[in-house]
């Protein structure tokens, strides 16, 4: 939202006296050719689907289409909110989002602080390069790695736990629902940890070095420098990112749940998007699927707007 304002501000700054739109269009025809096709595609695939929201207020049948289907008002939403599975799915979505958000937030800050303390730059760069890799591989690859690692039949996680004497029997991680949230959280952390340090390392790199020098002169050790200079330097960015990410808490992806979930763990693995897909494609109830999308969008919009409001307050130092 702040981007929008900034963009509008900068673009209104320069306005030449108008010459009449036809001659302007003529003189800028090249710019029009360069921008309009791309914009049409963007509009088609971003805005036109909103039209489909009508389906949530109908008893939609694919054969009759949006125009032929019968309107039923808020019936779909009533059915949705009466469904006990809806609340289970909502719980799964929220819990997994919050766990991933928390783990990623703490993990990224700790890793960035530790990397920042490394003076041997070849080592630092190597670790960075390695930890960025998982960000670039698909969830399918990650799911494969998890399946191999967690296999009760010689997977490296089970082997490690058994060698360390923590367990005696291999654990069937993939078949027990209670592990699913943890598997999801650790997989996400493993995939994105390195990547999410980029922004924090950039902030740490921008901290005025004179601060560290002055602290050294005053006799500060590296821990007090970390506590009094590095960490306070990170806090504004960290808070901003945390607040902004909170806005997307219902839309944090479904790939890992789709790939790693199975009927055995579905009570813990199903999230809103998969629930919507299930209704639409397996049961054929498109209206309910759309109603779930609408619910998600409305909650997200409210969250995004309120966290943006919070972030702006934070930016001006009004809270915290």
């Amino acid at each position: 939202m702040r981007t929008i304002e900034r963009v509008i501000k900068t673009s209104t700054r320069i306005q030449k006296p108008s010459k009449g739109w036809l001659s302007t269009a003529k003189s800028q025809y090249q710019l029009i050719i360069m921008s309009i096709p791309a914009m049409l595609i963007l509009i088609l695939f971003s805005y036109v689907p909103l039209w489909g929201w009508i389906m949530a207020f109908q008893k939609y049948s694919p054969a009759k289409g949006v125009f032929g289907s019968e309107f039923t008002g808020l019936d779909t939403f009533r059915t949705l909110f009466k469904d006990p599975i809806f609340y289970e799915v909502l719980r799964n979505t929220l819990v997994m989002s919050i766990m991933s958000l928390g783990a990623g937030f703490v993990g990224a800050i700790v890793l960035a602080l530790l990397l920042n303390e490394v003076k041997f730059s070849l080592f630092k760069r190597t670790i960075q390069t390695i930890t960025y890799i998982p960000h670039f591989v698909s969830w399918i690859v990650i799911a494969n790695i998890i399946l191999v690692g967690l296999s009760p039949d010689g997977g490296f996680i089970n082997e490690l736990l058994m060698t360390a004497g923590i367990i005696n029997e291999p654990i069937y991680f993939m078949a027990e629902g209670k592990w699913f949230w943890w598997i999801h959280t650790f997989a996400g952390l493993w995939k994105e940890l390195g990547w999410s340090t980029i922004i924090y390392l950039a902030v740490l790199g921008g901290v005025n070095t004179e601060l560290y020098e002055a602290a050294s002169v005053d006799g500060a050790g590296r821990f007090s420098k970390m506590r009094h200079i590095s960490i306070p330097g990170l806090i504004p960015t960290a808070m901003m990112l945390l607040i902004l990410n909170t806005g997307w808490i219902l839309s944090s992806g479904f790939e890992s749940q789709f790939l790693l979930g199975s009927n055995l763990v579905i009570e813990y693995s199903q999230v809103l998007d998969l629930y919507a897909m299930n209704y639409a494609f397996s049961i054929g109830d498109y209206s309910l699927g759309v109603a779930i999308s609408i619910f998600k969008s409305i909650v997200s919009i409210i969250l995004v707007l309120s966290v943006n409001f919070l972030a702006r307050k934070l930016d001006q130092g009004k809270i915290f």
Binding site: I4, V7, I8, S11, I14, K16, W21, A25, Q30, L31, M34, S35, P37, A38, I41, L42, I43, L44, F45, S46, Y47, V48, P49, L50, G52, M55, L111, L114, V118, I127, Y132, I133, F136, V137, S138, I140, V141, A143, N144, I145, V148, D153, M174, A175, I199, A202, R222, F223, L244, L259, L260, S262, V265, M277, Y286, G289, V290, S293, I294, S297
Partner: protein, 297 residues
């Protein structure tokens, strides 16, 4: 000058070992899969393969590459990545250029519409119905068209163009250059860092895509490599958990000649390797690109 305090030395030891451990945890699964893919499949079943193969063989790779279904999926994945990335980078750069031109009359409205698109989403089902209504299901086009323009990438490129000296394009215009010439002859050559960044993001996105394949292109003759890997993965998961598999079956000849575990490992390495070969060379660019983009946000 005092010597380094003991706590600092201890911290260094802890810090370097901890970071090394993180590095190992990140790399180990890839090395493990690499070892499995290069190991005799009958021997793999006995277990205990870590980072080195016990019985070296390239037969898993030979089996994968001699399978016509997998080979043509690989070709399609490659085609999708190359065509999709070229078109997307081309269109993104052009749109970003027009939106960086302060005198462009449509600049304000187009920017607003574009930025808003990052916040609105009709959701999965309406999008699916749109794709169906446009008759894009069971076409190669569905891989390219819907994701052609991403507002985020346009913003990254536009902010790069914004900070270039304005005199460059101004003097080219005075020399009578058209907008196309200004963009592709003057601006693009000096904007390679940002072009490289979005090229990496877009191509990795195409290479890794599978969900559109799963949802829109169910027929075999349009399947991609990631999707083929997914089918084998889903079958293995349903075996592990003893539940029925919902997504099609893999080629029986594959399983007869080697084990699913070996095929999975081999395919995983095949889809990961291209990324590993390209990305370290672009690292210095995208770190700058993502920092710039995030700061702007």
């Amino acid at each position: 000058m005092r010597g380094r305090p003991l706590s600092s030395v201890l911290f260094n030891i802890f810090n370097y070992s901890f970071l090394l451990l993180i590095g190992i945890i990140t790399l180990y699964p890839f090395l493990n899969l690499m070892a499995i893919s290069l190991n005799e499949s009958l021997d793999t079943v006995k277990g205990g393969i870590r980072i080195l193969p016990r019985v070296w063989t390239t037969s898993n790779y030979e089996i994968v590459f001699s399978n016509p279904q997998l080979l043509s999926a690989a070709v399609r994945s490659l085609l999708r990545t190359v065509i999709g990335t070229l078109l997307s980078v081309f269109m993104t750069t052009m749109l970003a250029y027009t939106l960086s031109r302060r005198d462009y009359k449509l600049r304000k409205i187009l920017t607003l519409v574009m930025v808003m698109s990052m916040y609105v989403s009709g959701g999965l089902i309406p999008f699916y119905i749109l794709i169906k209504d446009l008759h894009l299901t069971d076409t190669f086009l569905v891989y390219i068209l819907p994701g052609l323009i991403s507002a985020f990438n346009v913003l990254i490129v536009r902010s790069y163009f914004d900070q270039l000296p304005e005199g460059l394009s101004e003097s080219a215009r005075i020399d009578g250059a058209s907008d196309f010439q200004i963009l592709f002859r003057v601006l693009v050559p000096i904007s390679m860092p940002v072009i490289a960044t979005i090229t990496l993001f877009i191509s990795v996105g195409h290479w890794n895509s599978w969900f559109d394949n799963y949802l829109y292109n169910t027929s075999q003759n349009l399947s991609l490599l990631q999707f083929e890997l997914m089918k084998i993965l889903m079958q293995s998961i349903s075996q592990v958990t003893g539940s029925a598999s919902s997504t099609g079956h893999i080629d029986a000849t594959l399983v007869n000649t080697t084990s699913p575990e070996s095929i999975r490992a081999t395919l995983t390495i095949i889809v990961t390797l291209p990324i590993l070969l390209v990305y370290p060379f672009l690292q210095k660019y995208f770190v700058k690109g993502i920092t710039l983009g995030a700061m702007k946000e």
